[in-house]
Amino acid sequence: MRRSTIIVMAAVFGLFILSWILRSTSLASVQEHYLIGGLKVTFSAFLTLAILSFLYKDNPFYKFAEHLFVGISAAFWMSMGFWTTIVGNLIPRLSRSLSEFFQVPYQPGSYNFVYFIPVILGIMLLMRLSSKYGWFARWPLAFIVGTFAGLNFVRYLRSDFVEQVSATFVPLLVGWQGVGHFVSNFSLSASGQFVAIVGNWVIFLGVICGIIYFFFSKEHKGAFGAASRVGIWILMITFGASFGYTVMGRISLLVGRITFLFRDWLNLIS
């Protein structure tokens, strides 16, 4: 066991060096820091393969990549937040000298002192790190929750309730010019009238039955039960569609990675 791990490690290390050398030589003509360039590409290829190795089983290489990612992403978000929002939005409102230091335009204003409130709340949030004063963090937490609750309450009522209800107001007979006209040019063409009409019917009945399925305070019996059964069928079509649609997305991610390996690392394709 010990030996085998050592062998694997050695092999991976060897391959890494090899790829570094090859990549650098191929880059030598292109850029002057070709050693660094080679290292960069090789390293990211190594990380890619390390993650993919998880498919075989959880292993030290995967763990290494995983842990590296955790550290880096946390730090990345921190620094971005600091430069864009703290320096970009807070400092210009708090202090002229600091703004000068960070070279951001100072925004004078007579009510700027209120912008100390988020700073204080933010520091309280950081107190969660101490077990003794952790409860201070509830104040900013309450602020966050309050903001979200308030925003969501009205925005959802508007966009996902009122707007959706009114969006369901569809005419059942699209471009209706009498039975004769309907029958005479009846067709199953995708752009035809019949298909459009059926579509609207499905939308209307589908929404109604779907909502009936989500009725909890009434037993699903009789006509109500039938409607809810239709509802679940509609939902199943929905989920089937989502599944089919999603496969494409998942594959794309793989395409992206394999393209990287073949093009940037192995130079197999242009």
């Binding site: 998880f54 959880d58 995967y62 995983e66 842990h67 990612f69 955790v70 992403s73 002229r96 000298s97 004078p108 204003g109 007579s110 937490l141 966050i144 929750v145 979200f148 309450f153 009205v154 009522l157 508007r158 309730f161 009122v162 707007e163 209800v165 009114s166 369901t168 107001f169 569809v170 005419p171 059942l172 007979l173 209307f204 929404v207 109604i208 909502i211 009936i212 989500f214 009725f215 909890f216 305070s217 009434k218 037993e219 699903h220 939902l235 199943m236 989920f239 089937g240 989502s242 599944f243 999603t246």
Partner: protein, 505 residues
């Protein structure tokens, strides 16, 4: 619409060629008239206060110029002008000098302490024995400058106070100044609109101290110029005004939402109070939840543990909150059956809450001593590290039942897949619609979206939850009825009804 600019160019070209052609025939003066013929001005220009805002804005509407994007000297853009009294320049200069002074003061304030510090240093430093000519004694210099700045500072502050005073007065006089129209003022451009655009909103700032502060209750006058490719060739509209801006107290464009808010709040409060009074509110059984008890029984028979995954949500996510209630119920049963429960957590806060829920459940079941801290444990706050860890647990412990309740993202499929591999019965529930298909495919029972919330009400039996669930059901009933009515309205194009639901602004 395609290649519009090209068309325009073509027209201009035609215009020139035409005029060139006429040059031979017609006398010269008429030619010039033709070639610099201004476009048709905009018509029906109206100006009124911007609706449903806090004031400080005027909305302009007009009929497009006849030459908009066509005809001779086609109009490429519209320039909006407002009559501005020269008084505003005075205000502006006050503003500028005020800011200038503020800057000086700030500079002095930062300079003084530094200079004094430096001076102290010089004072401490001994004068060299033999005085070389080059040696400059900066002490003197610093003493002077410090003295000077100390003298200047109060002056500046005084000046600042004075300027502030003036600005305040000046701002108050803005409406007065506008009454002098059309004397002591001039037209100034406040914005442009692209060709084809027949409206413009002149939005000012409501902070009085801001440079582009726009006073309410002031007589404004507007004019719109139709401008051609050559900015010199333009046509001004007739002047509109006086028009005043003022703030509205209520956004009438959002009345439908407001009504919805009121109705929903009333429903919720009504049913919560009813439920608190002990009214029996029925909740239909959910297959997924019914399955829980059997699953726990099965686990007990097999002597295998039960894995409960709370997902990636925070303690403030609805899905997670619902999941806590379900966890409580599950933990109670588990305690009764004396089965093993495993709850790996992603979020530290969620973990603390979950620990209490489980502890309380064991207490309810009358087995507080069976509870131990490690039932609920923190794994890591990284999506895929968490998945890897939970997968490992699944394949090691081979739990009889896996429950995924809460907020899940891309990891849902990996979890469910591995669970299926481990041959466990899987019960899932999430409000993340994108993940539902995977759970439905790979799990035995799935709580779909709102069912998750309902489940917590069904299990928790808390009057609050039951009450709000009932309120939601009534809201749904309303949706069905309205949809039916709307259907009729749409079919008989009965627009009055449909407009009731249109939310503007």
């Amino acid at each position: 619409m395609k290649h519009k600019s090209l068309v325009i160019l073509l027209f201009i070209f035609c215009a020139f060629t035409l005029s060139a052609a006429q040059e031979d025939a017609a006398p010269v003066d008429t030619v010039q008239v033709d070639s610099i013929l201004p476009p048709a001005p905009v018509s029906m220009l109206t100006a009124k206060d911007g609706e449903n805002d806090h004031g400080h804005s005027i909305t302009l509407r007009w009929e497009l110029s006849a030459d908009d994007g066509a005809g001779q000297n086609s109009v490429l853009s519209y320039e909006i002008f407002r009559w501005v009294p020269f008084f505003m320049d005075t205000l502006q200069s006050i503003q500028d000098s005020l800011e200038q002074t503020e800057a000086y003061i700030a500079e002095l304030r930062t300079f003084l302490p530094r200079a004094e510090k430096r001076l102290k240093e010089y004072r401490k430093r001994k004068k060299p024995k033999l005085v070389i000519v080059i040696f400059v004694d900066s002490t003197q210099f610093y003493e002077d400058t410090i003295a000077a700045s100390k003298r200047l500072l109060p002056e500046y502050e005084e000046q600042l106070k004075q300027l502030r005073q003036w600005r305040k007065q000046a701002i108050d006089e803005i409406p007065q100044a506008h009454t002098s129209y059309p004397e002591q003022g001039e037209w100034r451009k406040v914005g442009t609109a692209l060709s084809g655009q027949a409206n413009f909103k002149d939005v000012g700032v409501k902070e009085r101290k801001s440079h582009d502060y726009m006073a309410d209750h002031t007589d404004y006058y507007y004019r719109v110029d139709a401008v051609t490719a050559d900015p010199a060739i333009r046509a001004s509209s007739e002047i509109v005004g006086p028009v005043q801006s003022y703030g509205q107290l209520f956004n009438t464009g959002r009345i439908p939402v407001f009504v919805a808010v009121l109705v929903f709040c009333l429903l919720t409060i009504l049913f919560v109070t009813r439920a608190r009074r002990g009214a029996e509110l029925y909740v239909r059984p959910l297959a997924g939840i019914e399955a829980v008890d059997d699953a726990i029984g099965r686990a007990t028979e097999m002597g295998k543990p039960i894995l409960y995954v709370l997902g990636l949500g925070t303690a403030a996510d609805i899905g997670t909150i619902a999941s806590f209630t379900i966890l409580g119920r599950v933990a109670k049963r588990v305690a009764e059956y004396q089965t093993k429960l495993i709850v790996p957590c992603y979020d530290p806060i969620v973990m603390t809450v979950a620990q209490e829920t489980v502890k309380a459940a064991y207490l309810d079941a009358g087995r507080p001593d069976d509870y131990y801290e490690d039932i609920v444990y923190f794994v890591t706050q990284s999506q895929f590290a968490y998945v890897a860890a939970v997968n490992g647990t699944m394949l090691r412990e081979l739990p009889a039942t896996n429950m995924y309740m809460g907020v899940f993202f891309a990891e849902s499929l990996i979890l469910a897949e591995t669970g299926a591999l481990a041959g466990s019965i899987q019960i899932a529930g999430t409000d993340q619609v994108a993940q539902l298909p995977f759970f439905i495919v790979a799990c035995d029972y799935t709580l779909i979206g709102e069912e998750l919330y309902a489940a917590s009400a069904y299990l928790g039996r808390e009057p609050i939850l039951l009450g709000s669930l009932k309120a939601q059901d009534y809201a749904k009933a309303a949706v069905i009825i309205l949809a039916a009515l709307g259907l009729l309205a749409a079919s008989l194009d009965w627009t009055a009804f449909i407009n009731l639901f249109s939310v503007t602004s």
